[in-house]
Amino acid sequence: MINLSMSYGDIVRFEGDIKSMTSQLLKLKNVKISGTIKFGENIEEDDDWEPMGPTPMPKIPTLRHWDFKLLERYPPFYMPICDLCCLCTFGKCDLSKGKKGACGLNIKAQQGRIVLIACCIGAACHTGHSRHLVHHLIETLGRDYPINLGNEIEVEAPIARTVTGIKPKTLGDLEKILDYCEEQITHLLSAAHTGQEGDYLDFESKALHAGMIDDLAREAGDIAQIVAYNMPKGDGDAPLVELGFGCIDKSKPVILCIGHNVVPGSYILEYLEENNLEDEIEVCGICCTAIDITRVSEKPKIVGPLSRQLMFVRCGVADVVVIDEQCIRTDILEEVLKTGAVLIATNEKMCLGLEDISHLSEDEIISYLIRNRAGLILDEEKVGKVAVEVAKIVAKERKDRKSLPDLNEVIELAKQCTECGWCNRNCPNAFKVKESMILAKQGNFEGFIDLYKKCYGCGRCETICQRNLPIVSMTTKVGEAYYKDLKFKIRAGRGPIKDVEIRSVGAPIVFGDIPGVVAFVGCSNHPNGEEEVALMAKEFLERKYIVVATGCAAMAIGMWKDKDGKTLYEKYPGEFRAGGLVNCGSCLSNCHITGAAIKIANIFAKVPLRGNYAEIADYILNKVGAVGVAWGAMSQKAAAIATGVNRWGIPVIVGPHGAKYRRLYLSNGEKFKVKDKTTGEIMEIDPVPEHLIVTAENYKECICMIPKLCMRPNDTPKGRANKIYHYVDLYEKYFGRMPPDLEKFVRTEKDIPFMMKDKIMNYLEEKGWKPFEKYPKNPTIL
């Protein structure tokens, strides 16, 4: 009997009989050994890549002291979206205006609790996704399959190293990381139960922990898929792939993959390759699945971000829609069936009530799908052949099928509109739908043309329409007719940042000579179309910031062209350097952005990583001028990602709808206190970065906030002058005035950019500005 169960960091006793032993290579049978192994730090000989730091595998309270430091400076600012709590049958309880609920909870703690639940759902989402990937890849490639990101990436898993103390060498090692994630998520979610945590700061500390787990889980998943599918490994020259409605070849059978999980799509690509069908069948994707299949092969095309999902499905271009998990419209089945296409669900997380036909043979599945038009196939390997063969058949059937009304029909439909105006009022953005209808009645499509550009296709206008007008279809048709040039390019997701890139930008970032790293991430549900994010990226690329992107934001950046018809991906290099535009990949790949910040601390500044969370985060907060922009952040995943990023000390800006997350971390904008590590002295400094997570009402505000949130206490005067230059220049460009709070960020005259000296000095005098007498050489809040 051998009875071993180990979890990292434990002492394991084991017992067993050895009954047979052959040569050095043991074939064990009836082993009986008895003894004790200290499992954990000492388990691996070469596990001494770095001495273990103070907090490997932190539990809920382990990093609480760090969280409380952050929360002291950036206290949670709550906007309770509801006066009530309805989570248990004690309630509903009215918590408004200081009232307590039946369990004793107040409204601040309730907000923190809801944020915690959201972050747990987000973290569970990424952990479940990564678990699925790792499980699947271990089944196909084995537990020992090595994690090797190439010679240029030695710090392969900066988050895992820092958080868990594990340096993952094989896919099997990633399982230990995910075990840890699942245990933490369970404890965290538990704390949201009625009658558990009661303090808002502790809820926030737990939310920050959930965010960190989310970050860690994403890293495990992305590393697994990079090594298993041979995705680009930090390649700045990753290929440019096609993006946009316009690049889908409708003459071929079309397979559309929606979601986040690369596995089913990869089997489709494999089947096509094996059967030399790559040029016969069009494979395209929406949302992160799209990004990830283009990291596997250059052939598939990216339709666009999730905000274009309903519109594209309504187009009826797809013959087969393969869905996996996350960010898929929950009415996708109904929508796909309306177009005459076939839907294949492939993931236990989204079964949609469909019959599980996984046990059938591929041929049986194909005929089932042709008869029934939709089914659940949990054996992803079968999806390859099935999707392709069904697409071939369905494409023929559907040849003359029309899904959208034609323009005349749009006019006729518009004429049915009663002009009640509820479409405008049920629109999350209060867009002028009614007015577009009124124009369309006269054959004037200007309203719809504008709508097409701005709308993110949620369909709430339709659901409230008394006449059941298919407003999204009408919008889509007009868009199709009037936007002829929907063909773009995006650089395939390159994955992590190389160590060598970190070495060359480390100093200029830490001293402020590169004015900042701006990461555009998350969903594309912002109120004014994809273009806004592209224009923001452009602004900072031109100013030689490092611009990083992932997920739907990375697509949005590709959906704008300059006058020469070039996208930003064609104009700017893909390297992590000043003026570089780095598409890391899908939402999972967000880990490489925090990863880069960590690597700056480690590779450039030699701060030890292993189990050393707080010191690394403190370094980033004080010295790495990075800011995340989640302009269309929509989901619980986005909440978890942002909160995880915040725990590392990186500020985040969200769009106006982000206010519905209910909680920001805002400082009071007054002077901050830090310690100078060199002298031990506590001193007052300028309030940088000013907030940890903050909303911006619009594009202009966001653009002007970015340079400000890139400022850090560690900036050299030259670096700060550079950052101030952009802050002032952008404020003047977008608001036609000096920034109203500039005086806070000028520490001494040396911080004033030479070109703006007079102007700024005049302004500062007006404000009664006084320079700081000193500021810290080596700032820390620990």
């Binding site: 600012f77 906007m79 309770p80 509801c82 009530l84 205006k97 999350p428 209060a430 009402e697 505000e701």
Partner: protein, 146 residues
């Protein structure tokens, strides 16, 4: 129920307590009674509306913060909750964004909040009802009367 008294985006309300409907006359009275009023002014007004608001500011010598130009709206909320302003008027701000932001004052301050925008705002304590463009101009003019 009169649709003019339903939040313009009907889901914008914070559930139990929604703003009382107010009128230009009442708003003028509130300003007069207020020790320290302030107007938070967004960017979304038309030229005509802006002209009237400018006159209104002048007439009552109102302290104004323009958002986002002068300050982030959330920072304004945080500031007001800890200030001694006793009356805060709002107009020109993205509807759903203000709806969310102002819940902070609703829960955590005693500032009397009033939306003088053209859409009924449930999360201030007082609000104009939903108004057409013409009605709104009319309301603004009434604010200048007397």
């Amino acid at each position: 129920m009169d649709e003019r008294f339903v939040p313009y985006i009907p889901t914008a309300g914070s559930n139990v307590a929604h703003a009382e409907i107010t009128t230009p006359t009442l708003v003028k009275m509130m300003i007069k009674r207020s020790k320290k009023p302030i107007l938070i002014l967004g960017e979304n007004l038309s030229k005509d509306e802006m002209e009237l608001i400018d006159k209104f500011i002048e007439k009552y010598n109102l302290k104004v913060i323009k958002t986002p130009e002068e300050m982030n709206l959330m920072a304004i909320m945080k500031f007001l909750a800890n200030s001694n302003y006793d009356l805060a008027l709002f107009t020109g701000i993205t509807y759903y964004y203000l709806a969310q932001a102002v819940t902070h004052l609703k829960q955590f301050s005693n500032v009397v909040t009033v939306s003088i925008d053209k859409y009924y705002q449930p999360n201030t304590l007082y609000s104009f009802p939903n108004l057409s463009n013409d009605e709104y101009i009319d309301y603004l003019k009434k604010l200048l009367e007397g």
